[in-house]
């Protein structure tokens, strides 16, 4: 798809000098997110600074039936910002202002391009933070977090992005600027804010976000426990949760991952550890102390090799160091990897770990694991050599099988990364035609012409194109008509 000179002229008028990228090399930068399998450069990249410009762009694109691909920082992992069918990409990373901070009412309103961590930096000296903490929080935008309903290690206790979004300003697929929700809770009417969070840009473009801020806890305790078997670590997790403790974070690393990390910067995990459990508790000091002791005891009871408790912030950072470097560390094991994001019920962790070993063996690939054990959110990294096409195919096959295994155990195809282009095809594993049909129609309400981020989030039905015709009940014949 190429833009007509008329459309280009209108975009230039809307965006002004420097607000529009048209050159091939300029557009190439925008061809993908962190999932580099999915590529497609847009025909133009618009960089608006005001909501009114966004409205004009959407109205223009609607008139011209041009696809719109919203983009924040481009740190997504699902191909959500690739533009395989061209069109206009709307990069929101010039809209980075904090519009309002209202600490008495525990909220802030920000523009979508604001970097997640910047919001916390703006309020932390007064004792507050923005709770959703995806690993990308140093670079990912709040608009992007809203789009994918991003999670993070600490969402076990604090919830994911949607639990912290009070209101949105959205330009829908019809070019209407609407305000949904707001600072005050309990709005009458449908929860359009809740429905829009996680819609991956298919409802419209978010131009402002009102978020809940969270008060920093009095105390934090970080504990690292290592085990000789992943089953033991999983049992420790179960014991901790069953005892009534809700840790702020509960992260696990498996044997292969531990080896990769130890070979690198050296987080100093015990050599014969097959599982490392990172437990973080926060809250009132007395609570953290009591629960910390209890959690450590559970680890010892399950045969922990060692249990380390950080004594200060520096030690705490050290315990987290390995976890944070996990994705980078696997680079020592293989040139490339597929990162998966699936969920199983937490009690199925030992079972899925055994299954992963079998899947890896069947497809002759190595699978390293780092995961949010507290909520059963797995992040297996399927290692392969990208110079070997056969190995990539095997990695992909293992990837698909792994998803199916998670669904078979009652899980879900994505816990926090989102669907995007990557997993649209996987949704039918989890949803019946009627469920997908409902979602299609929901999307149509916000974007009747299908211009917003087409091809993302929902699959295309192989037979009837869009729609997924649901089955209606069969009524007794001739009863009343």
């Amino acid at each position: 798809m190429l833009l007509s000179p008329g459309v280009v002229g209108e975009l230039q008028r809307i965006l002004g000098a420097g607000g529009l990228i048209l050159s091939p090399e300029g557009r190439l930068v925008y061809e993908c997110d962190m999932h580099t399998f999915y590529k497609g450069a847009p025909d133009a990249v618009a960089l608006p600074e005001r909501a009114e410009q966004v409205v004009e762009i959407v109205r223009l694109c609607r008139r011209e039936r041009l696809p719109i691909v919203p983009r924040g920082s481009g740190t997504g992992l699902i191909g959500g910002v690739a533009a395989p069918s061209g069109g206009v990409m709307v990069g929101l990373n010039r809209m980075t202002r904090v519009l309002d901070v209202d600490l008495p009412n525990r909220c802030a309103t920000v523009q979508p391009g604001l970097i997640n961590l910047w919001l916390t930096k703006a309020v932390q000296d007064r004792g507050w933070f923005f709770a959703p903490d995806p690993s990308s929080q140093m670079v990912s935008s709040i608009g992007g977090n809203v789009s994918t309903n991003a999670g993070g290690p600490h969402c076990l206790k604090y919830g994911i992005t949607t639990n912290h979004v009070l209101g949105l300003e959205v330009v829908t697929g019809t070019g209407e600027l609407v305000r949904l929700g707001g600072k005050v809770a309990d709005r009458p009417g449908y929860d359009l804010t809740g429905a829009t969070v996680g819609s991956e840009g298919t409802f419209g473009l978010v131009t402002a976000v009102t978020v809940r801020l969270t008060h920093a806890a009095q105390a934090v305790k970080t504990i690292l426990a290592s085990f000789t078997a992943i089953e033991d670590a999983s049992e420790a997790v179960s014991a901790i949760i069953a005892s009534g403790i809700i840790p702020a974070a509960l992260e696990m690393l498996d044997e292969l991952m531990i080896r990769a990390i130890n070979e690198g910067t050296g987080a100093g995990y015990p050599k014969d550890a097959a599982a490392v459990l990172l437990i973080e508790l926060d809250g009132p000091a007395a609570e953290v102390d009591a629960q910390g002791e209890r959690a450590a005891l559970f680890c010892w009871e399950r045969g922990a090799l060692e249990v380390r408790v950080a004594r200060d912030d520096a030690e705490r950072a050290l315990l987290w160091k390995g976890r944070k470097e996990a994705a980078g560390a696997v680079g020592r094991l293989a040139p490339a990897y597929l990162l998966q994001d699936a969920v199983v019920p937490r009690s199925k962790l030992p079972a899925i770990m055994r299954e992963l070993v079998l899947i890896g063996a069947r497809h002759r690939v190595q699978i390293a694991n780092v995961f949010h054990a507290g909520d059963g959110n797995l992040h297996p990294l399927i290692l392969y050599d990208d110079r070997n096409p056969d190995e990539l195919e095997r990695a992909k096959a293992a990837n698909e099988e792994l998803l199916r295994a998670c669904i078979a155990m009652g899980g879900t195809v994505t816990g926090e990364h989102g669907v995007g282009l990557d997993k649209a095809k996987n949704l039918p594993l989890q949803y019946a035609d009627a469920d997908l049909n409902f979602m299609f129609r929901l999307r149509r309400v916000f974007d009747p012409d299908g211009i917003m981020n087409p091809g993302k989030l929902l699959p295309t039905h192989p037979a009837c194109g869009e729609g997924f015709r649901p089955e209606r009940p069969r009524l007794p014949e001739g009863a009343w008509i």
Binding site: N105, E176, D186, P188, V344, S347, G415, L427, L475
Partner: protein
């Protein structure tokens, strides 16, 4: 095409069995709502029967009013039509309880009380405590997004529901969400269904997130000289490291109804965690109370039972007033200016339940409209939760919705229930 009533009743009986379909005068009168009696009262025993009933209602052009325990039937506009009263209390099974995963899947007609009893054996809780919760159904609590004091810590149904199974207006059985505690696959359909008053589908099954029962809990009551001091205390608690379970603000009338020592206003706080931390936070709370010229006194073990009974609402009019935490005092003052009112609600979130003794349409209308005008600049709202029909005719029970958002709501309703089978006329804007 005109529909013959006899054939509909035989179709319904064919689907549900004779005893589950009533069309006798007594049953119809007992199910009347706002002076409108249904033609049939049906009580399905399974979700498949709900599906069949809605399929029939859709094709025959009937209006269906779903009902759980019947506690919120005076919420919203009077229905425009009512042919079938769909009593969901027969769908009360616990489908799957996974204590190790802290999740449970239940049918929508199960009551909060039944669930609570089941969870107690495993020392787990569903932290939902709207007034009268124990006898209310989970489907009803979800459809109305009813909440209580525990929302200060745990949120509302919106935050606790993971998955929903529902029947669309045309009888299509649909699932949204997940059965695990974390999922972002597809749109967040459960959020859309919570608080939609059954207008997008009849809730049949819910998968819910559970919490462990804390080791210990204590409650304090802080009597304050006025609502301004009470607000100040609420804000200080929020800006502290105390992690309370409940932070309720009460006016003098609400305090009296709880049988507590009388004062102009008070804040009731509960803290639940390990014993030592309950004690330590209680001391921290007392320090904050002293800073506003008050003191934290033990509220007593049965305080929340008394509080629940007092706030359930009497024979008058119940309003749900949503304001900012920083405007609690002026909102309370505005309400009290218009006459006697019992005010109690979540101070942390500015969500106040107001019971007016009045059932007079003109008076309630004046109170509600003045309050709405006052709260509008902050995006606050006033919803008439319970009132006689006359009141809900005189004053829009939901209040105005911003035009842009309303256009989307209307489009949603038109997409999923264009024939207005479900709860016609009751929801916002008469949708």
């Amino acid at each position: 095409m005109p529909v013959a009533a006899r054939s509909i009743v035989s179709a319904l009986r064919g689907m549900l069995g004779g005893e589950r379909v009533r069309d006798d005068e007594a049953a119809r009168a007992a199910a009347a709502l706002d002076g409108l009696a249904p033609r049939w009262v049906v009580r399905p025993a399974a979700l498949a029967q709900v599906r069949d009933v809605l399929g029939l209602a859709h094709d025959a052009g009937l209006a269906v009013i779903p009902r759980g325990s019947g506690s919120s039937l005076e919420l919203g506009h009077p229905p425009a039509r009512m042919d079938v009263l769909l009593d969901l209390s027969g769908l009360d099974r616990i489908v799957e309880y996974n204590p190790d995963d802290l999740t449970i899947t239940v049918e929508a007609g199960a009551t909060v009380g039944a669930l609570t009893a089941r969870l107690a054996a495993r020392r787990q809780i569903l932290p939902l405590d709207p007034p009268g919760a124990l006898t209310r159904t989970l489907g009803g609590v979800a459809a109305t997004n009813a909440s209580g004091p525990l929302r200060a810590r745990y949120g509302t149904m919106r935050d606790l529901v993971l998955g929903v199974r529902f029947v669309q207006a045309d009888g299509v059985l649909t699932w949204g969400g997940a059965r695990v505690v974390k999922s972002v696959s597809g749109y967040d359909v459960p959020k859309l269904m919570v608080g939609s008053l059954g207008t997008l589908g009849v809730l049949g099954e819910l998968t819910l997130r559970l919490y462990p029962l804390p080791d210990a809990e204590a409650t304090w009551l802080v009597s304050c000289r006025d609502a301004a001091a009470a607000q100040e205390l609420v804000l200080r608690i929020l800006d502290s490291t105390i992690q309370p379970g409940r932070v309720e603000l009460l006016n003098g009338a609400a305090l009296a109804a709880c049988g507590a020592v009388e004062s102009a206003a008070a804040v009731a706080v509960s803290i639940a965690t390990v014993e030592a931390a309950v004690r330590a936070q209680g001391e921290a709370l007392d320090a904050l109370a002293r800073a506003v010229g008050a003191a934290a006194r033990p509220g007593g073990e049965d305080f929340w039972t008394r509080y629940g009974a007092a706030t359930e609402g009497g024979r008058g009019t119940t309003l749900l007033v949503a304001t900012l935490a920083s405007k609690l005092a002026e909102t309370v003052a505005e309400i009290e200016r218009s006459g006697p009112a019992m005010i109690a609600g979540c101070g942390a979130l500015g969500s106040l339940r107001v019971s007016l003794p009045s059932r007079d349409p003109a008076h309630v209308k004046a109170v509600v409209e003045r309050l709405r005008a006052r709260l509008a600049p902050d995006g606050g709202s006033v919803v008439v939760q319970r009132a006689p029909r006359d009141v809900r005719v005189a004053v829009d029970p939901w209040g105005p919705i911003a035009p842009g958002a309303f256009a989307l709501m209307q489009a949603l309703r038109d997409e999923f229930d264009p024939a207005r089978v479900l709860n016609p006329g009751r929801f916002v804007g008469g949708l």
